[in-house]
Structure formats: structure tokens, C-alpha cells
Amino acid sequence: MARKTNGQGREWGRRKVLKGAAGFVGAAVGSGVIGAPMIWAQNNKNIVLRQCGTGVSAFNEIAEKAKADLGFTLQMTALDSDAVVQRVVTQPNSFDIGDIEYWMVKKVFPAKTLQAMDTKKIKYFDKIVPIFTTGKLKPDSVIAQGTAPSTVGFVEGKESTTFAKAPTQWFTMIPTIYNADTLGIRPDLVGRPITQWKDILDPKFKGKTSILNVPSIGIMDAAMICESAGIMKYADKGNMTKAEIDKTIEFLIKTKKEGQFRAFWKTFDESVNLMASGEVVIQSMWSPAVAAVRSKGIPCVYQPLKEGYRAWGGGLALAKHLSGSQLDAAYDYINWYMSGWVGAFLNRQGYYSAVLDTAKANMSADEWGFWMEGKPAQKDIMSPQGKLMEKAGTVRDGGSFYDRMGAVSCWNAVMDEDRYMVQKWNQFIAA
């Protein structure tokens, strides 16, 4: 009896770790009706592509649609980000397509288990949002701090693992999904306008704030707060020196001891519950969590802040072992991915897709206006699963694509002093 209960506890713990992972997102079944537009090669029905990656973009619908349009089977495996990094590096033959994030590229590409893509084979290469190629959203933009996608987007040659400073013919990864993160607030409970990252330190919110306990991202939110509060200025928030880490953690510990934080969350559902129950009124959040709070009828705003956003992005990379017809299929898949249907699907979830023109063609004018142009919704906005997301008349928090992605202050990153940072972060949690 005793053993049993104990065992349950552990099993749960393990599941929690793989949360969002949920194992396989099954591939589509019936391939009987392939009446879809026959623009894609259909001679590859026996090909199976195994995609492994973080759960963010592993949607069942995409696998089903790929099967219908392209004919081959796509098996998606979702893991947490650390497990993905490990798998890509240590089990290069266990996947064909890596669905990874840009900060991981910096870590895993040098391990030589991925192959660079030939941009000439990428149909919509010229239409990819320039954040991922030149790094400049608009010609006058400044490249943000951290692991900006453009800095790890290209390698110098086909076999090279040295990241190129400017675009080359060899692309490390096709961008698929990205977004800009900020603080979420409860407008009904904060009782004052929130405009800056440092507002989370307001003594009024003592014991009512939270930041996320994922060291590599948490430290950057902390850095945004420190910089906003004038505690210090960073040369690069995405690659801090030991001294900068020390000072940031010292500040966090002091703030924690003063009782400013209510909790530190680690999983999506925790952040939703903290906000929905009113335990916290301002905290780091991810955009689907804000949507989840709102779907309970509780007001929640993904507040744009003066200092800008912390952005993240993911993409698809090809495994080194791919060749021949499998490699062709992988290119087909990538070209299909950017041809619009998937883009529209992702945009409708509140993420952004890499090729905007094709996505636009697959969305209604109202949807495009709401998600991408910051216009008030004319009709109710539905999710791809048919759930009400926003009522007519609503304007997206933060406004248009250019307002949001143009105000990115830093990208999720992996620091050179990673190991040291984690030790210090543990110290903060234990303090």
C-alpha cells in the first residue's frame, strides 16, 4: 500500500516533466481520399518522415493535412526542449526533421547531426520574414540581443558548422513559428496603468507577482526587469557575463526575501491558475496562457511594455542522414509548410508564421486584420479548432505584427556561462 502510493507520486512527477509532451501526435490515418489539390508530388506514399521537437508546433491538424496534400506520413513526437536538444545531439538517426528553437540551434548545430538546407530548393525563401534572414524586420531595424535567429540562420558552406554573419546559400533551419512574450496582467486587479517591466516591482503588488522558473528564460525576464528599474545595464541580456549574472541573481534574491513574489511557475497550467485565481496580478506569461485565462471569462491582458518584448522562434531542421527521396520529401514538406495553409493555421493561434503573403491568402480579411494588423475584429474570432477566442470589436494586445515584432528587445538565448547561470539560479530558488 505504502509502496503503491509512493509509486504513484513518482510516476506523476515523471509525467509532469514530459508535460506538453504527451508522446506521439498520431499521424493521419485514412489516405483513401487524396482529392486535395494535386500540386504536390504523390509518388512518395511509402515515405515516413519522423519529426521530433517541442510541442509548440506539433499539431495533429498539420500532420493530417500534410498526409492529405503530400501523401507521405508525418510522425510527430513532442518532447520538452531539453530532451529535444539531447535527442538531436545523441540520437541523430532517431528523427528526420528536428522541430527546434533558435537558441537550440546555437547549441546543437555544431554537433554535426543536422544538415544545412540549400536555399535554392526553398520555394518561398525570398518571402521569408527578414527577421530570419537579414535580421532586420524593416531596413532601419536594429538586431535585438540574445540568440537572434539571423545570427544562427546560416552557415558558411554546405558542410560548415560556422554560423555566417550574412545570408549565404546554406540555411540552418526554416522558421515556422515565433512570437513576442511580455508580462500578463489582471487589468481589474492592478488598479494602475502598467507600462514598464519594472512595474512588477511596485510595492503595491507585494506577494502578488510571479516569474517563470525556467532558468534560461526566467533570467532574461529578470534582466528586462533589472534594466527597466535602472539596477544595471547589460551588454547582451542573452549572453551575460558572470558579474552580470551575479548581480541579477543578487537582485532577485533580495526581491524574493522582501516577499515580492507569490510563486514561481514552471508549467503552462500553473501560470493560468495563478492568474485566474487572483493569486498574482502581474507575471511573466506565454500568449496561449493569456488566452486560456480570458476563455474563463476573466480579464487578462498581454501588456505591451515600453522596453519591448522577449521573443522566441522555432523552426524545422534536417537531420544529417537524410538523402535521396527522403530528402526530397523533406524539402517538399518544408515548401508545403510555407505555402500558406499552415501559416494561416499558426497565425490563427496567435503565433506568427514565416511567410506572411501565403498565409494571408489563406485567412479572411477580418482574421488578417485582427491577428496581423492590429485592427478591431469585425466578427467573433475563432481558433482553428472552432473555439471562440475573441469577441467582435476586440483589438489584439500589443497591436499589429510590426508593432509587436518590431519592438523585440531580446531573443531567447543560450549563454556561454550557462552552467554558472543555472547554479546561481538554483541558489535563488533555494534562498
Binding site: M1, A2, T5, N6, Q8, G9, W12, G13, K16, V17, D80, D82, V85, Q86, V89, T90, K107, V108, A111, G207, S210, N213, P215, K256, F261, R262, A263, F264, W265, K266, N273, L274, S277, G278, E279, V414, D418, R419, V422, Q423, W425, N426, Q427, I429, A430, A431
Partner: protein
Amino acid sequence: MRRVDAWVTYLQVAPLSLVFLLFLVVPIATIVVVSFFDYSTTQIIPAFLLQNYEELLLSPVTWQTYLQTLEFTVITWALTLAIGFTIAYYLAFYVRSATWQTVLFLVCTIPFWTSNIIRMISWIPFLGRNGLMNTALLKMGLIHEPLEFLLFSDFSVVLAYVHLYTLFMVVPIFNSMMRIERSLLEAARDAGASGWQTLWNVILPLCKPGIAIGSIFVVTIVMGDFVTVRLMSGGQTASVGLMMMNAMSLLQYPAAAANAVVLLLLVLLTVGVMMRLVDIRKEL
């Protein structure tokens, strides 16, 4: 003939030995071996290094965290012992009818068949700032501000532990109590012992094996726990289990393994001391 006997004995022992070898000895040996390995951001490199242990044992964070874990263990142990003993005593000596004993025992047990995690999480809406407890106290006018210490604090962690693990004390202690010869209690009374004296000098010593077994359960579970601490403290408090979790999520398996070995030694030491104090085998 004797030879055949010996073979039969070996055969009989073999299944259990194999199970132990495969599922206990091999995994623990692996952990010990890995704890000496080196690692980088993405790889585990076979080596023989003491660095993992050095980093672990020389860091003040480790000591702080172990102290915190021990503190939780001691408090939880004391509370579950006091509550568990009282409940077992009531069941064993106050409730006379065997039927009622069974019924009440089941009442204690059945909630423990539900998921551990559900029982723990249920506390969160109950203790929260706008939870049932605070709302009730506010409405009754007993407090004017919600009590913040109820949730995401050391208090809530200990509360969850006590709630989750008291049964592990109740069952073995109750079992020991049921084995006590009733005539011993009568003899104590005849000899002029008061109720407290009987409890202290007769019942308590005879319950020692039960207490020891219960204590081993509670202590080992609490020392290895990470879920309760993380959820009930809102991630604000560390525990040894959480430290390992953090290390593992960053692929620092050797560091986590070293920590696991240290924790294992500490738990073995604690259990060893308990076994020293009470010879469970003899008393059973």
C-alpha cells in the same frame, strides 16, 4: 542427494535474486558510476572525476537545501507520529467492536486510494488568497486581510506532507497495538499504573516496531520528494529532489547522480540509526 537439495534451494532463490539484481543493484550501480562522469551542455562523457561531488558538497546552496529538506522531514515526522499514534490508539483501544474498527480503519484508508496528486492539489483552491478558508474567515469577521501564509509557504508544504503521509504511521502502529496482549494492560492497571503510565511504560515500548516502520516510510518519502515541495511552495522553496530535477532538465545527469548518491547515503544512514534503535526483525 544433498547436491540436488542445494540446487533446488538455488533455484528457489533465483527469481527474487534476479529481480533484485536487475531492478535494484544494476540501476543503483549505474547511478554511482555516472556520478563520476563528466558532462558538457549536450553530452555525458565517461570519466572518473570527483568534480561533481566537489561542486555539490562545497556549495552553500547544497547545505542550505539539505537542511531545508531535513527540517521538513523532522517536522513532518513529528506531526505524523503524534497524529498517527493518537488515531491508532483510538482505533485499537477505544473502539471495542471489531466491525467498527474495520469500518473506521477503512475510513482512514480509502481516501489514500485516490491519487496522491489530486489530494495535494485540492489544497490549493482551499488555501488560496481567495480560497475557501480565507473567504470563510473573512466572512466570519475573524480576519480583515486574507492570510497569505496559508498557501505557497513552508506551512502549506508541511500541511500537505502530513495529510498525505499520516496513514503510513497509522497502519503499522495500529498493527503493533493490536498485537499487544490485553492482559498486559490489565496487569498494569492491577499494579496501580495510571492511564498515562500504562501508555508510556507499556504501550509505547510495545509499539516501537510499528513506530519504526512508519517512521522509515515517512522519512524516506519526504526526503526524496520534489512534487509536493514544488507545488505547495509555489516553486519558492528548494528540496533535494528539486535540485536533481533542475540538474536533469539541463542534461546535467552526472551532477544529479552525485546528488542522488549523497541523498541515498543520508537516507540509509537515517534508516540505519532507526534500525539500531529498534530491532524490527526481532520485534516482529
